[in-house]
């Protein structure tokens, strides 16, 4: 379970998150929507400890992420993350990209790590690209590679930070399909996204962020239905539709 309690995040004078409360149960898919700069990506960075926080707490299975005694490297093995920019390791083949962290972080043998990597690459539909370098892959393929790379650590939770925003429109579908597959497998996911139809289909709950606050959270029917509780949600959705 991921629990975010009264989370505040500032970059200098800029108050990005102004007290966020959110809990995500095992197996749940939560989509976070909102305008750029509303703090939704920052929330993900705070959840796996890539960013420090100023106030509040994040608990993952009861472990406090920002406690200075917490072993973040160990904790992050359990919380996979995929970024807007796919960040493939350019010097490694697809197989090596995925096998690297099981090998060096989990200290698996090379063969063991490559077995897992192969399994994950097949899972995301890249079975014919095992020995290809990222420079020869399309954006969509690289993003699926990044998903496989995160899954290879066998995390309980996955964080997705606008994973389709940097893709050409015709490549968005294949990546969203991979996410749908994961959701169907029962992965616990927090997806920051601008893809409203994806959020409507896949999410158990949708959260709308506005200027550093969670304006509204509820099932997709509530958010995308005729009468979201907040006027701001209604206005935002009217603009993106």
């Amino acid at each position: 379970m991921i629990e975010v309690k009264q989370l505040h995040k500032k970059y200098g004078e800029l108050h990005v998150l102004k007290g966020i409360d959110l809990s995500v149960k095992k197996g749940e898919v939560v989509c976070v929507i909102g305008a750029s700069g509303s703090g939704k990506s920052t929330l993900l960075y705070c959840i796996n400890g890539l960013e420090t926080i100023q106030k509040g707490e994040v608990l993952i299975d009861g472990i406090s992420v920002h406690d200075k005694n917490t072993d973040l490297n160990k904790l992050r093995q359990n919380v996979g993350m995929v970024f807007q920019q796919w960040n493939s390791f350019p010097h490694l083949t697809a197989l090596e990209n995925v096998a690297l962290s099981p090998r060096v972080v989990k200290k698996m043998s090379k063969i063991e790590a490559q077995e897992i990597a192969k399994k994950q690459l097949i899972h995301v539909g890249l079975e014919d690209k095992l020995n290809v370098y990222p420079s020869a892959l399309s954006g969509g393929q690289q993003q699926r590679l990044a998903i496989a790379r995160a899954l290879a650590m066998e995390p309980s939770y996955m964080l997705f930070d606008e994973v389709t925003s940097a893709l050409d429109p015709e490549l968005v579908g294949e990546v969203l399909d991979t996410l749908r597959l994961l959701a169907k497998d029962g992965m616990t996911m927090i997806c920051v996204t601008h893809e409203m139809s994806f959020a409507r289909d896949v999410a158990d709950r949708v959260a709308y962020f506005h200027e550093g606050l969670m304006e509204e959270i509820g099932p997709p029917e509530q958010i995308f239905g005729d009468n979201p509780k907040s006027e701001k949600t209604k206005k935002f959705l009217a603009n993106v539709k």
Partner: protein
């Protein structure tokens, strides 16, 4: 050019062997200096890229001194200093120390550029997979950064090889010094200069070719 007078001997095979041995000494001092200079330079470059403000200012001002004072002055000053201080050392070692520091100052800039060439997003991705700081450096920053600045490093290595000629000023019998001795003996300065130019070329060319080969291999 007229042939030399009777007081001087003509250039002979023995002289060529003498030059060959000196060339080997040039290679020796260059390889040792490039090795130590590279190791120290990488550590300094990392301090420049990752250190706090105080570390960065301290390291970069020291490096500025070594990069700005002509190498020949550094060599003579250091060699005289250790002699005056009562710890004279063989020209090979005082030359190696000064060349290494000089090389380190150049490599530090290259290493910093290499580290900075690796995008913070890539490093974040590595950390998000559970890699620690040193694992990120070893498995991501090192290979990616190395590919970015390897040609610059080859450039530094070649310039250290050529600049090792200045070690002749403190009496180390390398290629340059050997050529001066032969010139005094035979008065055939033009031929000798052509010859040692060829020697330096023969040493440098394989290095730059090897560099190109490695680069090509990485690109595929």
């Amino acid at each position: 050019m007229n042939s030399a007078g009777s007081a001087f001997t003509n250039l002979s095979w023995v002289d060529l062997i003498f030059l060959g041995e000196a060339a080997i000494r040039t290679l020796q001092i260059s390889i040792v200096s490039i090795f130590f200079g590279t190791v120290i330079g990488i550590i300094l470059g990392w301090m420049l890229a990752a250190g706090n403000v105080f570390v960065r200012i301290a390291v970069s001002s020291i490096l500025d001194v070594f990069r700005s004072v002509p190498l020949i002055i550094q060599l003579i000053l250091f060699d005289s200093f250790v002699s005056i201080a009562g710890y004279p050392m063989p020209a090979f070692w005082s030359g190696t120390i000064v060349l290494s520091v000089y090389c380190a100052a150049l490599v530090a800039m290259v290493a910093r550029a290499g580290i900075e060439a690796v995008s913070p997003n890539l490093r974040r991705a590595a950390r998000s997979l559970g890699m620690g700081y040193w694992q990120d450096l070893r498995y991501i920053v090192w290979p990616v950064g190395l590919r970015a600045v390897f040609p610059s490093w080859i450039g530094v290595a070649l310039s250290v090889l050529k600049d090792s000629a200045l070690v002749s000023a403190i009496g180390y019998l390398e290629l340059m010094r050997a050529s001066q001795i032969l010139t005094t003996k035979t008065q055939e300065s033009f031929k000798i200069m052509l010859l040692i130019g060829l020697f330096y070329f023969l040493m440098s060319y394989p290095i730059s070719k090897a560099g190109e080969f490695v680069e090509k291999k990485w690109q595929s």
